[in-house]
Symmetry: C2
Subunit: 434 residues, 2 copies
């Protein structure tokens, strides 16, 4: 034991989850699990520590070093605490390629760390739902991933007034930029970086950056026009592009199933990471005070190839952080007032009744699936009731010497304040019907 | 993208959880959650990273440094990945002492890391159930914690032939060693270290170590006798010890509730850590090939005092690792053959039916809570059936152009191989009754 007192605060950017916080999390992760499992997605998980090179291979060494918690272990391995799940899941798929039955429908809700400045909606430790389909490289998988994101949102009671799925396609993007500005592949990639930053920089900077890449004022104007177009107009510019075809099929299916009310085409959606190759999307919060991308994803076709030579297993998926989701749910008043359902019973205790008589009651209640505990310690009856009220117990069971003699118990409903005496052997059925 | 291929192996001492592995984990953590929640325990969680000094304060800087993954962040904070949960929960309790309603009944199932040699039952990354009661310093809380451990084991179908709870008491230990050998407090502590190692060293080393602490051959013989005693005989040596009283009350209650069949007094149970102050226990696997402590815990009275001056909130609890539990369940054949319950439906697909017709079917099934997915892609029918079989789907739904015309579907039961044609609008009720 040390002489100086330790801080009670959690490490910067991390959170303590007290039981109240945990009930909220278990509620929303429970909804997500149930929605995804009903859609035949299967849960997986992987280690919290991975080799740093896993992230360096994807995002470059500098970013991997800067944005992750990383260190060298005693065996001289350079490790990182995972900042995202995609490299782990790509590694896992690569490791069992021959055994797995594709298309895979997988999800996970891992905790992860990013070394970054903390701000609203952005912490250093967070949990992130990851949903992915591997092994189907056509639009049907993109559609199924978008449907799953919509269904997750709907499971919380969110409707089209609260969120919008904004969709673009990287193949289409490259083709339309080439059609307009006759750029090569690398220049298209650089144009995508400028467009990705569009809303974060002044207009003149945006124009200057595009000019620097060789785009004329007229070409910039034609790109500007794309932001206003719907999917039919936009894809008409390069109708034979594979990306255009994917976008048209996707939006046609969304329309035919009535899901188009949640979705729009948005040329400004790029997703920063280089590994996206096809459909990309972001889910926006429609609340004016919160209007921004909550989460997103897309198609990435080459990640498994990092591990297995010439492996071509395409993936499409998204990641949704817990902090953002929680903000959304509170903003739209979608969080229930209480997560306690059903009865919760405190068996109170008097000193003149043998303790095992009380133990027998809690054992009977629990065996019948009734949430219950015995007051621990031997404080006065009033203190025991206070404890029950504060702990959101719905009922207390009271057995003094006279009840013990009569094989009865008193049951007090803490909400109605009603108290009745019943035979002990009717206690479970009484509570189940109350 | 890098030229050299990356390894598909997880970091040493960590595991990938593929969906099959995850189903097993979700099954056993689900049982544990349900058992504890029925006993009115509440779930909490805390951050994966904590200040290193949190562990150094408890176990000494050298051990904390050696056994944890630790590093210095860019703000010059010395952090550790949590190797255990007790310091975190003590910190959390200390941070809200004034608001919380004691006794607290808390549990958590966090992942954690220890830097150690990997071996059977011991990995670097593991999950650990932690169950604690704070704010009750009498035997009733010790008893409730032991009952919860027994109920967790029973929830898996384990009985008294499979496991034993071995119980001792640190206060009793100190008093009985003092009574026999007239030792002071520090010497008693050192004797406890020797006894903790007893089964790991040759008999002559054990005797030499006790001699070195000043114990005579006669005193060693009297201590030897304690290993053979039941609780009545042992506590008779120092009947007025608070530890003796706690042991007697505990065992009396265990006897009166019929739980004594799971429990024995065992003078050899010490628990290595210095912070235990009263009841200590370990749960042993009775299987001859596996006979050893699986998990354990005990009472620790002073941990909150590390954070808040003069705070006296006693705690009692245990930690149970997932690796050990999984070994136990397999050793005793307590793992179900399959975790799939209920129907799981694959909607197959033909190219001559509009895709949205299939999307409508899966949407209908999912809205009715029926686990289902649509085959993604457009492979031949036989391939789609293979996929269903490999993915443990129970039924496939088939709708070709003629069924579409008739508003019917075919349903094939993959187990019985029976196939029938039913009206589309009876599909959900048909599947729910099958």
């Amino acid at each position: 034991m040390c002489a100086q007192l330790l801080s009670t605060q959690p490490y910067k950017g991390t959170r303590d989850f007290f039981p109240d916080d945990m009930r909220l999390r278990n509620w929303f992760f429970g909804k997500i699990r149930s929605t995804l499992e009903t859609a035949a997605f299967e849960e997986y998980n992987g280690p919290m520590l991975e080799s740093l090179e896993l992230y360096a291979a994807k995002s470059g060494e500098e970013i991997a070093n800067k944005q992750t918690y990383n260190f060298v272990d005693k065996g001289n391995r350079h490790l990182a605490i995972r900042p995202e799940m995609t490299p782990t899941v790509a590694r896992m798929v690569a490791s069992k390629m021959g055994e797995l039955s594709f298309p895979l429908r997988w999800f996970s809700i891992p905790n992860m760390y990013r070394y970054e400045a903390t701000q609203r909606g952005r912490l250093r430790e967070f949990w992130q739902l990851n949903v992915d389909i591997f092994g189907c490289d056509t639009y049907e998988a993109d559609l199924e991933i978008i449907i799953s994101a919509i269904n997750v949102m709907k499971s919380f009671g969110a409707d089209e007034s609260m969120f919008t799925v904004r969709i673009n396609n990287r193949r289409f993007f490259n083709d339309v930029v080439t059609a307009i500005a006759n750029t090569d592949e690398e220049t298209s990639r650089l144009v995508s970086k400028v467009i990705d930053r569009k809303n974060k920089v002044p207009r003149d900077v945006y124009e200057k950056d595009l000019s620097a890449l060789g785009l004329t004022a007229e070409q910039i104007a034609r790109i500007d026009a794309l932001y206003e177009m719907d999917v039919t107009e936009a894809t008409a510019i390069c109708p034979d592009s594979v990306g255009s075809q994917e976008l048209r099929l996707l939006f046609e299916a969304l329309k035919n199933t009535g899901l188009d009310k949640y979705c729009v085409f948005d040329f400004g959606i790029i997703r920063g990471l280089d590994y996206y190759t096809g459909t990309v999307f972001e889910v926006f919060d429609n609340a004016p005070e919160n209007n921004r991308a909550m989460f997103g994803g897309g198609r990435y076709d080459n990640l498994v190839g990092l591990f297995v030579k010439n492996a071509k297993i395409s993936g499409v998926g998204y990641g949704m952080g817990d902090v953002t989701l929680e903000n959304f749910l509170f903003t739209h008043d979608l969080v229930p007032k209480s997560f306690i359902t059903g009865v919760k019973v405190l068996v109170t205790r008097f000193d003149d009744v043998p303790y095992e008589k009380y133990l027998d009651i809690t054992d009977m209640l629990r065996s019948n699936g009734i949430v219950s505990s015995l007051y621990l310690g031997s404080k006065k009856f009033g203190k025991q009731i206070d404890y029950a009220v504060k702990g959101e117990y719905t009922h207390v069971v009271i057995m003094g010497a006279s009840e013990l003699n009569d094989y009865t118990v008193k049951v007090k409903n803490l909400e109605t304040r009603e108290e009745i005496t019943i035979p002990l052997d009717e206690l479970c059925s009484f509570l189940k019907n109350n």
